[in-house]
């Protein structure tokens, strides 16, 4: 029997027991009767809530706390090939593959007919798979940490050159101007880049497969991903690629969507301005 029904009937039975007790108690104990009625009705509400909220009702009864732990496990693991996300649902494993779609077109640059055709292509894309498939268009904050580091490096090199001006007597006035100009150029670029948040846009598809064993689910998901990739290729004319390793994290983890370096940089600027 389905676990949902077992829990529902179990809670309904508890509710009925309280109601029966309330009814058989003598009338002069009416406050106690009322208490049992209220408890019985509360269990009745809980039983009905289990229809949609089984994941909450069952831990709520067993843990009886204000902070309910539904799961203590990580929500996913990466496969050995680091291209598949594996999660467990009930007794089965779900393997999911993320496919990046390198589509760099803008509707603002299209003629009316091209816009219509593009919208139709997107519509066709939705029906390429008989099993559920997810398409997403994600705007995330670009991690400019590496770029900013390289700018810092270039700036300090230019500043070193500037310090050496007094030591080097052979430099002509134009050379001195060039060195000073370089410093202010890198400083301006650095200020501009670190003051503005840059965004990155990615289109990706997601396919999942379920099986009792993880390797079965992975194989099935890889097969589905190949089908979906060929569908995307034939409709949009682009070569989709399977996301691997750290690239997958930008679809899963919020700290990769909003890099903490960017946030801390922004906080530091706010604090220094105060």
């Amino acid at each position: 029997m389905d676990q949902r029904y077992v829990i529902f009937f179990g809670i309904i039975a508890i509710s009925a027991v309280f109601i029966v007790i309330a009814e058989v108690l003598p009338i002069f104990l009416w406050p106690l009767k009322l208490l049992f009625i209220v408890i019985g009705l509360a269990f009745d509400i809980l039983a009905f809530s289990s229809r949609f909220y089984l994941y909450l009702v069952s831990p709520l009864i067993s843990q009886r706390k204000r902070f309910i732990v539904l799961s203590q496990e990580n929500p996913y693991t990466l496969s050995e090939s680091s291209d598949v996300v594996v999660t467990k649902r009930g007794e089965n494993f779900i393997a999911t593959i993320f496919i990046e779609v390198p589509l760099y077109v803008s509707a603002t640059e299209m003629q009316d007919e091209a816009k219509f055709n593009f919208a139709m292509q997107v519509g066709k894309l939705m029906s390429i798979s008989p099993y559920p498939i997810k398409f997403s268009n994600q705007t995330s904050i670009l991690n400019k940490d590496e770029y900013i580091q390289s700018l810092h490096h270039l700036l300090s090199m230019a500043q070193n050159d500037e310090l050496k001006i007094s030591e080097n007597k052979d430099l002509s006035p134009s050379d001195i101007n060039r060195i000073k100009g370089k410093v202010s150029m890198w400083q301006n670029i650095l200020d501009n880049v670190s003051n503005v948040q840059s965004f990155d846009q990615t289109i990706f598809a997601e396919v999942s497969a379920e099986a009792p064993k993880d390797y079965e689910a992975i194989t099935l998901a890889q097969q589905r991903a190949r089908e979906v990739m060929s569908g995307i290729n034939s409709i949009l004319g682009v070569m989709p690629v399977v996301a691997t390793g750290a690239d997958i994290l930008k679809f899963l983890e919020p700290e990769y969507i909003i890099p903490s370096v960017e946030v801390k940089e922004k906080l530091a600027r706010v604090l220094s301005d105060m």
Partner: protein
């Protein structure tokens, strides 16, 4: 409401009915009146959960201040309207908003020219809105292609039923029949439009569309507040596209959180979660 829902509701209603039928066991004074009040209140709550569970259950968890850990490192606050994660000393919050483009295509009885115009302008409107939002956002569509013949058979069955209703309405002489005929004709037109589209080679799909937005804060409350204001910005921005946007709460939030790591793998499983949007 499906058959399973009816069974759950009927069985839950049995308990209040049993109490009412044995009201004499509580005497005739104030006790029986209090019992009646509690029974009526329970019936009201049961009906509210049946249709508005996404409002009622989060309201309960908010009153009792109950929060949840759906997975290690994640937290659902009592309002059940966002997911919180702590990482690198910062708090990340993300929330889901329905973005049902479905009304564009299927719910409305729209003339083809208008549909074409909407389809043509949608990508440009979309780009304009997305570029105006200055925070991370993700638009997702979960779709499954359906068997065209099955869908067509089902639609033809529905059309026949509506035509039968129409013939009955035409025979009746009641004052409301003009309104009823108009309504039935509208339904027939919608069904016919769907059949025509399938006949023209369009493949039917079941789809679920939603927007996820991400915010970061120095505390959980800060992140929650930021994500709430982002949700409002999204709703205002997308109102120009005539999108049905509403913030997801309760079980739908939890289901979408699970979908981040593994999609439903069959069409049946997919539709069992979201009956309304398919």
């Amino acid at each position: 409401m499906n058959e399973e829902g009816i069974i759950f509701l009927m069985l839950s209603m049995l308990i209040p009915l049993i109490i009412i039928s044995s009201l004499s066991a509580f005497g005739k004074g104030i006790a029986s009146i209090i019992v009646i009040i509690f029974v009526l209140l329970t019936i009201g709550i049961l009906l509210a959960i049946n249709w508005l569970d996404y409002i009622v259950i989060p309201m309960f968890t908010q009153i009792l201040n109950i929060s949840f850990q759906p997975a290690q490192g994640f937290n659902i606050p009592p309002r059940q309207d966002c997911i919180i994660k702590e990482a690198n000393g910062l708090f990340y919050a993300y929330a889901y908003v329905t973005a049902n483009l479905y009304a564009y295509e299927f719910k409305q009885e729209t003339p083809p020219e208008e549909v074409n115009l909407k389809v043509m302008t949608a990508p440009e409107n979309w780009e304009r809105i997305i570029s105006g939002l200055e925070f991370p956002v993700r638009f997702s569509i979960i779709a499954a292609g359906l068997d065209a013949q099955n869908v067509r058979d089902e639609l033809e069955g529905k059309r026949s039923y509506q035509q039968f209703q129409m013939s009955q309405a035409l025979q009746s002489n009641s004052a409301n029949s003009a309104v009823t005929i108009g309504e039935i004709q509208r339904k027939i037109n919608i069904i016919q439009a769907k059949i025509d589209r399938i006949s023209h080679g369009e493949k039917p799909i079941a789809s679920l569309m939603y927007i996820t937005t991400f915010a970061v804060g120095v505390s959980a409350k800060d992140a929650e507040d930021k994500v709430s204001s982002q949700v409002e910005s999204i709703r205002i921005a997308f109102s120009s596209m005539n999108l049905e946007t509403s913030r997801l709460q309760g079980r739908e939030l939890y289901i979408l959180f699970q979908f981040e790591y593994g999609l439903p793998t069959t069409y049946q499983e997919f539709t069992s979660y979201f009956e309304q949007q398919t």
